[in-house]
Symmetry: C2
Subunit: 134 residues, 2 copies
């Protein structure tokens, strides 16, 4: 494979998340992930080391951080740089593709924060009525 390898949809076929055969459907699963959404936000602040990301995203396990960063790297959203040093220094940076995704993620994060009271209120009401007749 050369550097020029690229993947393209068949001529005349548009990407469609409602088409089960379209790979964009699977991408939807990846990009909506909670940890992914939180990580791109942490990386939007600039290049970060693993330990810094673990601190910036409280609650993430080492294993989840490793696998989420690897998925982001694999999908072309994060660049991983290994610096020769003792101990080796590894840094993670959003690519332009990842920066675009981060903007969408910011929408998700902001929406969740802005509407948490409405959602929790709806849950209280649902719990109060769900026991009644449907």
């Amino acid at each position: 494979m050369t550097d020029e390898a690229s993947w393209q949809l068949p001529e005349g076929v548009a990407a469609d998340v409602y088409d089960t055969r379209c790979p964009s459907r699977q991408v939807l699963d990846r990009i909506g992930d909670k940890w992914t959404t939180l990580l791109t936000g942490a990386l939007s602040q600039g290049t970060r080391r693993f330990s810094e990301l673990a601190r910036d995203v409280p609650g993430i396990s080492q294993k989840m951080l490793t696998s989420t960063l690897r998925s982001l790297e694999r999908d072309g959203m994060v660049e991983r740089r290994l610096h020769a040093a003792v101990p080796p220094k590894v840094e993670y940076t959003l690519t332009p593709l990842g920066e675009g995704l981060e903007e969408v993620h910011r929408g998700l994060r902001t929406w969740a924060e802005a509407h948490i009271e409405a959602i929790e209120t709806a849950r209280l009401r649902y719990a109060a009525t769900a026991a009644g007749p449907r």
Copy 2:
């Protein structure tokens, strides 16, 4: 509980998805879900019956459709209306809260479709290099 029951963040506390104690963190998990993202899009076309939604979101199982609709209803994003008829007719409609979420979801869906080629290309390159030295 009265109709006026509402949930509020403690005075002076702002919602923060990076705070593990904030319920907006859990909401992030719900709203990023692939089926939720596809369902709000289908409902953005108007009120729908269960069978119509099953058709509009190919690949969703009856069980997943039932549980995703129930979550959306519980979170106040979808209104479920039962019409007395034989057989009973059940219809689902986005609430104003759900319409707002749908806009954010549209961003996710559109982004996935617009960038699927770049992502799949990144995956080919990652597969080609991952076997090499890291």
